[in-house]
Subunit: 354 residues, 4 copies
C-alpha cells in the first residue's frame, strides 16, 4: 500500500484538470484517488474526454471513470484536492472542501484576492504560504492555496529576479495568449482562426492586482502589495499552448543587457534548492537567438522530465530610450495552470503542511 498522499482531481474533464492528471502520472508524493467532474461527465471514461493533445497518459488512466463531485466522499478519502473547476463555479465548492479539512490547491481565480488566501509561485513568494495559517479552516487541516492567472505567471519569475537585482518601477506588458487559456470549449474557432482577439475578460485587471500581490508581502495578518505599476494589454492569438508576452520595463538601476541576462539565467528559488519534483532546474531560460522565444520551440522548456513546460523562456533582451525590452514565454496550462498548483502542493508537502 502506498504511503503517498491521496489526492482528488476536480474538474478532471477540463483542460487544466487533464493537465493535473498528466502531471500526477507516477508522481513521487501524490496518488490519484479519483477524477471528479460535474454530473454531465460522471461515468464517462477519462480517455473519452481528452483535451490535452499528444497526451502521454497510461492506459489505466485513460480507462478510469469520471466520478460525480461528492464532497463528503472526497473529504473522507483525500487529504488534498487539485481544482481545475471553472472560476465561476469554484468558489463555494473549494470553501466547503477546506471546511471539511481538505487542502485545496486550485487554478481557479475565485479566492485569489481573499484576505488570507495566497497566490503562490514558489520561486517568487513561498514565504507567503504562511498566510494559510490565518484561514478559518486551518485548524481542521483545510485551507486554500491558489496559483496565479496564466498571464501573470508567465512573467512573474523574471520580474521577481529583476526586481530583486535592480528595482522595478514600471511594467508595460502586451500578451499573445494561447487558446487553451480559455479552457474547453472556450474560444469558438470562428472567432480565432486567422484572427487576433484584443480582449480577455478581467485579464488585465488580474495581471495588475495579482502581480502586485505576489511580489508584495504578507505580515500582520494581511497582504501588502508591491508598489511598481503594471500597464497590461491582453490579446488572444491562434496558438494552442504557450503565452508569449512583450515587456518594456523601467528599472531603478541601469544594468547592462549582459547583467540583465545573467540575473535572469542565474535566478534560483527555494523549489530549486528543495529539488521539488516539478521544479525546473533553471526557472528562467535566456535565449540568445534573434527570434526566440516561440511557442513552437519553447513551450515545453524545462528539465528534468517532470518539469517539462515549467520553465519561463526569455529572449530578445534589448534597450530603448532607457527602457528594457524583452519577450517572455511560458506554458499557460502547465507552468501557468496545473503545474503551478502542483508545485505549490509539492512545496506544502515538503513543509509538512499535508
Amino acid at each position: 500500500m502506498s504511503d503517498k498522499v491521496s489526492v482528488a482531481v476536480l474538474g478532471a474533464t477540463g483542460m487544466i484538470g487533464q493537465r493535473f492528471v498528466e502531471m500526477l502520472e507516477g508522481h513521487p508524493y501524490f496518488d490519484i484517488e479519483g477524477l471528479y467532474a460535474s454530473e454531465r461527465s460522471a461515468g464517462k471514461r477519462f480517455g473519452d474526454t481528452l483535451k490535452v493533445r499528444d497526451y502521454t497518459y497510461r492506459q489505466e488512466t485513460l480507462d478510469r471513470r469520471i466520478e460525480v463531485m461528492d464532497l463528503d466522499r472526497i473529504a473522507k478519502h483525500c487529504r488534498l484536492a487539485f481544482s481545475g473547476i471553472p472560476t465561476e463555479l469554484a468558489g463555494p465548492t473549494e470553501t466547503e472542501l477546506a471546511q471539511k479539512g481538505v487542502a485545496v490547491f486550485t487554478n481557479a481565480g475565485a479566492h485569489r484576492m481573499d484576505a488570507h488566501v495566497p497566490i503562490i509561485v514558489p520561486e517568487v513568494n513561498c514565504a507567503q504560504l504562511v498566510s494559510v495559517k490565518d484561514q478559518d479552516t486551518y485548524a481542521s487541516g483545510g485551507y486554500i492555496v491558489t496559483n496565479a492567472n496564466c498571464a501573470s505567471t508567465g512573467i512573474v519569475v523574471p520580474l521577481c529576479a529583476l526586481r530583486n537585482a535592480f528595482g522595478l518601477k514600471e511594467v508595460f506588458v502586451s500578451t499573445y495568449q494561447a487558446i487553451s487559456g480559455a479552457g474547453y470549449p472556450g474560444v469558438p474557432s470562428l472567432d480565432i482562426v486567422g484572427n487576433v482577439i484584443p480582449f480577455i475578460g478581467h485579464e488585465e485587471e488580474k495581471m495588475e492586482s495579482e502581480l502586485a500581490k505576489m511580489l508584495g508581502t504578507y505580515s500582520a495578518g494581511g497582504f501588502h502589495p508591491a508598489d511598481f505599476k503594471v500597464m497590461a494589454n491582453c490579446a488572444r492569438v491562434p496558438v494552442v499552448d504557450g503565452h508569449t508576452e512583450s515587456l518594456v520595463l523601467a528599472l531603478r538601476d541601469s544594468p547592462s543587457l549582459e547583467e540583465v541576462a545573467k540575473v535572469l539565467a542565474d535566478y534560483r528559488g527555494e523549489p530549486q534548492q528543495l529539488r521539488l519534483p516539478s521544479a525546473p532546474e533553471q526557472p528562467v531560460i535566456v535565449r540568445t537567438e534573434p527570434n526566440r522565444p516561440q511557442p513552437a520551440f519553447d513551450v515545453m522548456a524545462g528539465s528534468p522530465a517532470r518539469a517539462r513546460g515549467m520553465a519561463t523562456t526569455v529572449g530578445r533582451i534589448r534597450q530603448s530610450n532607457g527602457y528594457y525590452k524583452m519577450f517572455a514565454l511560458s506554458h499557460n496550462t502547465l507552468r501557468g495552470g496545473a503545474g503551478g498548483s502542483m508545485m505549490n502542493a509539492e512545496y506544502a508537502y515538503r513543509k509538512n503542511l499535508l
Copy 2:
C-alpha cells in the same frame, strides 16, 4: 483615348504589387500602362501569379501579361511608377527611374531615410511633400515619394490626432503583424502555423525612426524629427491581413477617455477635404464594443468603396496609472502598403506634381 496619367506597376507579381493593381481597377486618375516584374515572371499571365485572396480583378486584368522591367520603356510611356519591388532590390531601380523623369511612389524602404525623400501619410504630413522639390532629379520631373512601413502606418494617424490635441510624450507599442506583411513567399508556414514569431527584421528600428520623421517637419532643406519616444516590440502572428497593435501612451495633457475617443473619431486631414479617391471619409474609426478591433471584422474598414481597407480602427480605449491604453488595427498591404502610395500619388496629382 484616356487623359488619365499612365502608370507602371513594378513588382506586379508580389503581394504589394498586386494590391496596386487591385486599387488601379477603374481608378479615376490613373491608367495601367504595364505590369512589370523580374525576368523570372516575364510573359506570365497576371492571373497565374495571384497572391491576393478573394480578388476582384477584371478578366482583362487577369489576362494581362507580365513584362520584364525595362526602365527606358517605362520612362518613355509612364509619368508615374508604383513600386512594390522588395526593399533590397528597389534602391537603384527607383533612383534610375527618377533620373529618367518618372515620379516613383514606392512601398519599398530603400529610400525612406534619404535626405530629401519624404515618407508621406497624407492625413498626417502632406506638407512634407514639398521635400521632393529638393531632390536632384526633380527638374526632370522625376522624384521619389515613399509610404511608411506597415506597422508605423497602422498607428500614425491616431498618434497624429492625439499629438495635435493633447501632446505626446511616450509610445509603448507591441505589434501583432500579419503574414502578408512579409511579402511572398515570405514567412514559411512551418514557422507560423500555431505560432508567434517575436521578431521582424529592422521593424522596431523603422517604427522608431519613421514615426519620428513623419510626425516631424521639413524645413530649410531638411527633416526634423518629432521628439516623443517610441518603444516598440514587433511580432508576427498567423493572420493573413491586418496588423493589430497594442498601445500605451503618455500624453502631455490629461483628457478624459471620451475626449480621446472624440478627437480620434473627428480627425480629418487634407485627403478628406480634397476627397481623394482612396481617402476614407473617416480616417480613424472608434469602436465601442468590448472586443474590437479585430482583423476578422475590421481589416477592410473604410468607405466609400475605393477606400475599403484604408481606415484605421481603434478600440478598447482605457486608462491605467495615468497612461492611455488602446488597440489599433489597419490593413497592412492596403493602408500600410499599396494604398498608402496610391493616396500619395492621388495627392500629388491634385497638387499638380504629375
Copy 3:
C-alpha cells in the same frame, strides 16, 4: 410603401441567419420585416451579434434590434420566413409557421426527408418544387422548402451536369469542410487549430440520402431517389468558409476530359434563364490552373455582385483507371446555406408561389 414581399429572418444571430441578412440588403423582391432569435438574444443590437467576417451590412441594419420569436406576429406581418434556426430546434417552429400560412425557406435539416418537403437546388431540381402543393398546409398558403446540407450542395450542380450528359454510377467523395459549417459557437478552437477532425455528425448519411433525393424525381405524390451510389468521407479542416471536396466518379459513358470540362462550364439551369437575383451567370466555373480550386481564391466565385459565393468551382479534372477525378469547392454558408434558400425563394416568387 414597398410592394416587396415582407420577410422574417429566424435565427438572425447565427451564422446562417446573418448570411440571410447580408443577402437581403437591397434585395429586389424581399424586404426584411424583422430579425428574430431566441429570448437570450432578444433586444440586442444586430451589430453586436456579428458572426460574418468582413461584413458589408448597412448601418441601419447593424442598428436593428433582435426580436423574440413570436410566431403569431411573424405570421401576421410576413408572407415568408427564412430560417437559420439550428436543426434540432427548427422542426416544430417551422411546422407551426407553415400552418399559420407562412412560406418557410429553411436551411435546417429537420424536414428535409419529409414526404412532401422538397430539397431544392434550383439549377438541379426546381421541378420538384411542385411537391409543396401536396403539403397539408398549402391551402392556407403555408409550406416548407429546404435547401440541402452544405456538403451535398457543394457538388450537386456538377454531378447533375455530368449525370445528364454522361450518366452517373458511383460517387466517391471526401470533404474538407469549413468551420462555419458547424454554426456558432460550433467547433471549439482547441479541436481544430492545426488539426483535422475526420467526423461530422450525420453528414455522410445526409450526403448519401439528400443527393439521391435531389437528383431523383417527384411524381404521384412521392419522391423517387436517383440510383447512383455515394460513398462519402467527411472531415473538418481549419478553414473559415468554403467546403472543398475531392471526387472520384464512375460515369456510364467515357467522355474525354475536355468534354467533361465543357459540360460543366456550359451548364445552365432555370435560375440562369430567369436571371434570378442570386443566380450566378455560370453556376459551375472550371479552373485550368494546376492547383485550384482553393477556398482562399475561389470561395466567393460567382457574378453578378448579388451572386458572389453562389458558383461552384471545379478544377483538377483528371482520369485514373477509368474513373474521373476532380476537386470542387463552394461557399458553405452562401451557396450551401442562406444563398440556397434565398434562390429557392426567388424562384418561388417568380413562379407565383408567394
Copy 4:
C-alpha cells in the same frame, strides 16, 4: 570506443534531416559521425537551424557544427548515410556515395523507381530488400534503399494487412497532408493559413506507382507490381505534422467490420518479431471513438519510446454500398520520412547488410 555503426546525416538542416538526428539520439546501433548540408549551412551550429518543433535534442547535439558535404570524407568515415536531401538534388550524390561503398538509406524520391532499388516498409515488404544485391555497387558494399513517399507510407501497412487477409481490388484515397511534408521553407504561409491546396506535385502519381511496387514482388531481377487499382486525390491542409487519409476500399472478400478491425489491430511484421528499436509493438492502432484518428491526438502514436510517431492509427471503420470506409493517420516525417529509413537501416543491420 563505440562499436556502433558510424553514420552520416545528409541534409541535416532540413525537416527530414533533423528528424534523422532526433531518432539517432542514443540509438543502440548507430552513432552520428557528422551532420552534413550544403555550403550555405556549413559551419552553422545545428541548434541554430532548427525546424523540428518542441525538440528533444541533447545539448551536445544542438552545439554540433554542420559540415559541408564532402563525399570522400563521408565514404572514408561512415558505413551508412541517412539522406534527407531534397529529391531534385539527391540523385547523383546518393549514386556516388553508393559507388564509394556507402549504404545509403534515403527519404528522397530520386531512385525509388530504379530497377533494383527497393522501396521498403519493413512491416510490408522486407523481402524486397534482396534487390540491393542486384545493384551494381553492391560488391563494394554500397547500395541504396529508399522509403516511400509520406502519403503512401501512411496507408501501406493497413492496406497490406487487409490485402493479405481479404484481397484488395480498389483503393480510393484522399489525403489531408501536413505542411511539414513539403520540407522547409516549403509551403509559404500565405498559401495555406486558413486554406486547402488541392494539389501536391507528383504525389498522386507516386501513390499509384509506389504502392503497387511495395505491395508487389521482386523476383528474377525485377519488380512486379501488385494489381489493385489506386485512385488518389492529394491535398495540403494547415496541419504541422501528420497526414490524415480517407479510404474507400473494394475488397475481394466480404469481412465484417469487426473482422476488418481485428485484422488491422493484430497485424505484426518482421520488425515486430525482431524487436527493431524503431518498430512499434503494434504497427496499426485501431481507434473506436467516433472522431478519431486526429493529428492532434494520434500523430505520435507508437510505443515503446523510440517508436513514437511510428504507428499508423485507423478509425471510423464503416461500410457503404459494399465498400469499406475508414480514416488513417500517420506521422509524415517520422513514419513517413526519417523513421522509415531508420527502420530500414535497423533491419539491414540485423540482416548483416551493414
